[in-house]
């Protein structure tokens, strides 16, 4: 219990923005603040209350049971399909479920509820129902979780009409976007990144609206678009490139739907060159959409065709040396940018 109390203090500090907190705490603070503000918000998922020091496998639900009670903080059986379907039904009846799916790979067990039910209900029923549902989960590779716990499935969801897709890359974005996701009347897929839960950052206590890309770093030579782990790598690459007098502008879309093409296109218009980097397999990945739209919109102003970096067309291997090979690393970003600048 003392652990939990300590957490609560720390978390309210997170919301207050006084010092850098890890991503998981920022998320925890967002849940706490949303649940405090609105009694219809509740969380459910597997192992949310008794795992670790009492907060789900990455700690995000820590202390919620103690603060909000068992009716609003629910450990579920291992039944992803029913959990998500029930959340959809609950949302249709006016409450605001925030479901944790332990890894995004397990959402594949709940695709009917997500795609056939949640995403379509509002439309099919002529606008009568809202589905104010958030499904929180984590995607991505990098920590040896192997093929069935490391996928980057954001493109699948972004392609489905009716879903919002959020891919926060910093604690501040995680906090602010989570508040907006919970407040949103639409079903939202909120994809955290498992390798970033301990990334630290200062958090403001304001919601961040969905559909606003953020220009993370200014630069005049090349726009690099990236989210989550790739955003982090791109920022590292930026330092290396800066030493070579190549200034990249880094843009993080933050939400894949709604997608802020205005901010993105404005940046690319300024730089005339664009690289899109993602962890998901390159082929048919979300970068293709950005590349296609930018090529079409900015045909005349682009100095080179939009370039992409993406994961290899492989499942994620377990061994570290292999895992590293299938996802773009800092060096790959650096060399892609160098190539672009020359072209």
């Amino acid at each position: 219990m003392s652990v939990v109390a300590a957490a609560a203090v720390d978390v309210s500090q997170a919301a207050a923005g006084s010092r850098p907190v890890p991503m998981w705490r920022a998320l925890n603070a967002a849940l706490r603040d949303a649940m405090s503000a609105d009694a219809s918000v509740f969380v459910m998922g597997e192992d949310l209350t008794r795992w670790g020091t009492g907060g789900g496998i990455y700690g995000v639900t820590k202390g919620l049971l103690e603060q909000f009670g068992a009716a609003r903080v629910r450990d579920t059986p291992i039944s992803e399909e029913a959990i998500v379907a029930a959340a959809v039904g609950a949302a249709a009846r006016g409450v605001r479920p925030v479901v944790e799916i332990m890894y995004s790979d397990f959402m594949l067990l709940a695709m009917d509820a997500i795609v056939n039910q949640a995403a379509k209900a509002r439309y099919m029923f002529g606008g009568q129902f809202q589905i104010p549902l958030v499904i929180r989960t984590n995607g991505g590779s990098g920590i040896g979780k192997a093929a069935q716990h490391s996928q980057s499935l954001e493109t699948l969801f972004a392609h489905i009409p009716g879903l919002e897709v959020v891919v926060p890359g910093t604690p501040a974005d995680a906090y602010g976007l989570m508040l907006s996701a919970i407040a949103s009347p639409n079903p939202t897929i909120f994809l955290e990144h498992k390798a970033l839960y301990n990334e630290r950052g200062v958090v403001a206590s304001e919601p961040i609206p969905l559909g606003r890309a953020s220009v993370v770093r200014g630069g005049k030579d090349v726009t690099v678009i990236a989210t989550q782990l790739m955003r982090k790598r791109v920022l590292e690459a930026a330092e290396i490139l800066a030493a070579e007098q190549i200034e990249i502008e880094v843009v993080d879309p933050r939400t894949l739907y709604p997608l802020d093409m205005e901010t993105i296109a404005a940046s690319v218009t300024r730089t005339g060159r664009v690289l899109i980097a993602h962890e998901a397999p390159l082929l048919y990945g979300f970068g293709a959409e950005l590349a296609a739209q930018l090529a079409s919109r900015l045909w005349r102003s682009l100095k080179a065709p939009p370039q992409r970096l993406g994961g290899a067309r492989t499942p994620i291997p377990y061994a570290e040396d292999l895992e590293k090979r299938v996802i773009p690393d800092v060096a790959a970003v650096v060399s892609a940018v160098r190539g672009l600048v020359k072209s």
Binding site: A39, S40, F42, A71, R72, R74, T76, P77, S79, E81, A82, I83, V84, A85, A86, A87, V88, G89, A90, A91, A92, R93, G94, V95, P97, D112, A113, N116, Q117, A121, R122, Y123, M124, F125, G126, G127, Q128, F129, P161, G162, E164, S184, P185, N186, G211, P258, S296
Partner: protein
Amino acid sequence: MNLREHGRMALRMMLLIREFEQRLKGFADEKLIRGSTHPSVGMEAVAVGVSMALGPNDCIASNHRGHAHCLARGADPGRTLAEIFGRADGYCKGKGGSMHIGVQELGILGTNGIVGAGIGLATGAALAASVSNRNEVAVAYFGDGGSNQGVLAESMNLAAIWKLPVIFVCENNHYAQSSAIERMFAQPQISQRGPAYGVPSVDVDGMDVAAVYDAAEAAVTRARSQGGPTLIVADTYRFLGHMADDTQMYRALVEVDEWRGKCPIDRLANTLTAAGLLSDQERNEMSAEAKREVDDAEHMARQSPVPSAQWAFTDVDTWQAAEGVVA
């Protein structure tokens, strides 16, 4: 069911559903209905018996064969039929059709094109009641076929551990499309599945609206008193094909005839007559009234305009309306 109190209401509703559903084939032939539409003729007692046990704040999640569930829940026949025709006055502006009829104000979470999906949705509706301390009950309607979806097992377990006020209503009409229960179940008594997950279960004669009502009433009482879920398995039969263009080569005509002999409408009417609660003349009047009601519904649906073309792009979410098809 107290026949004196509820009998005539039940009969009236079953007659309405029968009349409504029997016309669908004609509408399909006339091309007023697109896609598939699944009539409940023969199964009226289940929807009616269950619905009569519900209150105004309760809700239902239905399946592909859902018109009866909607009508019994109080849906307007005209707006229901308009939806089936894909017209502007349909409950969903013509966007849903037969398999996607939702009615917010009646707590109808939709008929559903995905077999089994309503089970999870109703469980969630019960969860909403539980989380927000509202004394509401949710019903999931599904068929014998739907009971073979894993989501039923998961949902029953979830509802049982959380004591959710949900009633799982299985309409066992002996066939899932062309598949007879004998071929799809090794253990055909579906009601045995409930207790395996801690869900009290009951078999009921689905051709007897009074029996269905009584079972539903008991389940509602349990649900409202924090007693948790119930599984009701109603033995019933569809007199017509699975959908309009069904050759029915998978079943014997004599079997259909035999079940037609158990017609739930005749049964209730005869019971009422025998009890002195219904005269022949009254019965005929009630039939005539059902016809008139469906005539009116048909008239309304036929007159209803096609949806405004712009509606194709609205209601997806709260973001701007979808753009057209051009990139």
